[in-house]
């Protein structure tokens, strides 16, 4: 029966305590390696998380977007547009889509109410916008298909647009004027909010959405802005997986509709996200590789020191063997000591990594996500390095011949 782990740990700790400076210098490589792994993973986690949240706020991973293909050499960009009949046809070909929202947007467009004129983005949309943008009205109602088919003069306001135009008054039922058309306010949207420090638009990254106003696509198309063409469709599938399939199908339908000319680009949020993640993964891999190399160098340094320690303590090993230690006892003693040193480095690296993360997080307003699994990984890695680089010194120690070892000065 080998001596207990507790005793090996005691022996190892005693030795570490008598050689504090050496141990400290030895574990530096492990500390830095573990620290950099923590920092890199936290940055990547943070980036992924804020990207995902951004995507979700803008309609989630089920969303598919049809936009003009700007790589095409358009004579007139209106080449890349859909007629009302084409839109009806496309919708009928993709009954599985959860939502279908072709839209036009006019930027810096004046919306007037008696003496007030508010320049903002006017969007002509379908009723399904509430689904594609995951955005409901706060009061009143949203645009419906009756409004679409009858070119109704109605308008829904974003919350900021409503206060800018009406102050504290209830705007529902009131009229506003958009390019000589009198539109009746039928609803106010919920306020969109996404806190993103260091982002654009102040504290709320989605404030621009609260400034928007919405009219039926057909009304916008026919009555308000004659210059517009529908070139943008948002579609929503039931799941991210369906979105990938639906995107391919939609691309084919549109390609056929436009006689094989690739006038439109059809993209799914899921695929964009995956691509972003892939790009991030390349960086992650590179940084983690660098950290791993630093860990390996740290491990080699530790192996070196442990080999020196075996030589230095040859006589001690001889004495231990003389009084009854078996090879396995000596092996475990050195193994445990190496692992203790690397674990110590691991713990120090975790603490240092956390300190750096909280500092960086505070001053660079970056989102950093430290997780428990990172700590597990750090501990696992440092123990692993100890195991890997502790074996050789431990074998050397346990193979010493006691008679020779005792003669060693």
């Amino acid at each position: 029966m080998a001596i207990s782990l507790r005793e090996s740990v005691e022996i190892g700790l005693a030795d570490i305590m008598t050689r504090k400076v050496r141990t400290g210098v030895t574990v530096l490589g492990i500390i830095l390696g573990v620290m950099s792994i923590m920092v890199v993973l936290a940055i990547v986690n943070g980036m992924n998380k804020s990207t995902l949240r951004w995507m979700e706020e803008r309609g989630g991973l089920n969303k598919i977007e049809v936009r003009p293909n700007w790589e095409m050499d358009f004579i007139n960009w209106k080449q890349a547009s859909f007629t009302f009949n084409e839109l009806k046809l496309i919708r009928s070909l993709i009954p599985e889509a959860k939502a279908f929202n072709p839209q036009i947007a006019a930027n810096r467009y004046p919306v007037q109410k008696s003496e007030i004129s508010y320049d903002t983005q006017v969007r002509g949309v379908y009723p399904d916008m509430t689904i594609t943008d995951e955005w409901e009205v706060q009061t009143g109602r949203f645009i419906n298909y009756y409004d679409i088919n009858n070119y109704n003069n109605v308008i829904v306001l974003g919350s900021t647009a409503a206060t800018e135009l009406f102050g504290n008054k209830n705007p529902i039922g009131e009229n506003v004027v958009v390019q000589n058309n009198v539109l009746k306010v039928i609803g106010i949207m919920q306020t969109k909010y996404l806190k993103m420090q260091g982002g654009w638009g102040g504290d709320n990254a989605l404030e621009y959405m609260n400034r928007q106003v919405f009219v039926p696509l057909t009304t916008m198309f026919k009555k308000t802005t004659l210059d517009q063409a529908v070139s943008n469709i948002e579609v929503k599938a039931n799941s991210p997986e369906e979105a990938v399939l639906l995107r391919a199908k939609l691309q084919t339908i549109i390609l056929n509709l436009k006689q094989g000319k690739k006038l439109f680009e059809v993209s799914s949020a899921k695929e964009q996200m995956d691509e972003m993640k892939q790009n991030a993964a390349i960086f992650t891999t590179i940084f983690v590789m660098i950290a791993v190399i630093s860990l390996l160098v740290g491990g080699i340094v530790i192996m070196n020191i442990m080999l020196a320690s075996v030589r230095e303590r040859t006589r001690e090993i001889g004495v231990r063997i003389a009084i009854g230690a078996r090879r396995i006892d000596i092996f475990i003693q050195f193994m445990v000591q190496t692992i203790l040193i690397t674990s110590l480095g691991g713990v120090a690296g975790i603490i240092l990594g956390y300190s750096i993360l909280s500092l960086v997080g505070k001053y660079l307003s970056m989102e950093l996500v430290a997780s428990l699994s990172m700590i597990y990984a750090a501990v696992f890695v440092s123990v692993g390095v100890g195991l890997l680089f502790g074996i050789m010194p431990a074998i050397r120690a346990s193979n010493l011949d006691p008679v020779t070892a005792l003669r060693n000065e």
């Binding site: 001596i3 030795d15 001690e316 004495v319 003389a322 009084i323 230690a325 090879r327 008679v403 005792l406």
Partner: protein
């Protein structure tokens, strides 16, 4: 049945191409409770014999029976257990572990013997008390005199109550006064019925034993009879 019985023990060392015969047919029999001195000039093979008797080394040929066990046939892990339970070593240079206090040093054989922590402390304290060092338990070996260190070493050697106590020039690094103290302890242990074997080239030390075995060139020249 003698406690120690060796038959035609030969020990060869490979020194590259040359084979050196350190022991050349040792026939030795030691009864339980004897106090034996093994004498011989340096290079005579007395240390090698001690290592074999102490199970630190195995003979190249011949048989060695210790306490009814044919040690020459045992595997290394079994030898470790014999060293732990049956043999206590005392060295010329004490060989205490410098970074452990003397209580921990004396505890070591018990630890490798698998004795529980509490029991270890109790037995180690008892042994240190018997060599008069109860008041130094937390001292490191470096804080003690040579004589005190050798007493710690004896306590460590005896703590597992071994069948034989093997001492290799135990007074070689001590002044006459402390050397005498140490030899008195050996005499006491012998008087209590312990088997003591001292390797030495000092006649004064050997004279304390009740039998002297002389070795020259790997052979016993006389003395394998009760003195």
């Amino acid at each position: 049945m003698p406690l120690i019985e060796t038959t035609d023990i030969i020990k060869d060392y490979d020194m590259g191409k040359v084979k050196v015969r350190a022991l050349n047919g040792i026939n030795l029999s030691i009864e339980k409770g004897e106090f034996v001195a093994i004498m011989g000039p340096s290079g005579s093979g007395k240390s090698t014999l001690m290592h074999i008797i102490g199970c630190l080394d195995s003979p190249s040929e011949g048989s060695y029976i210790l306490n009814n066990l044919r040690v020459s046939d045992l595997r290394k892990s079994e030898l470790a257990s014999i060293r732990n339970k049956q043999v206590g070593f005392v060295f010329q240079t004490f060989n205490l572990l410098p970074h452990l206090n003397i209580l921990k040093n004396v505890e070591l054989p018990l630890m490798y013997g698998g004795i529980t922590y509490k029991e270890r402390i109790r037995q180690a304290k008892e042994m240190l008390a018997s060599v008069g060092l109860s008041d130094r338990l937390r001292h490191k070996p470096g804080e003690l005199s040579g004589g005190q260190r050798q007493r710690v070493a004896i306590a460590r050697a005896m703590v597992n109550n071994p069948a034989i106590l093997l001492a290799d020039e135990p007074t070689g690094n001590l002044d006459t006064q402390s050397g005498g103290d140490i030899l008195s302890i050996f005499n006491d242990l012998h008087a209590k019925g312990h088997t003591v074997i001292i390797v030495t080239h000092d006649l004064n030390v050997a004279s304390r034993a009740n039998r002297v075995i002389r070795i020259i060139d790997g052979k016993i020249v006389d003395g394998d009879i009760a003195a």
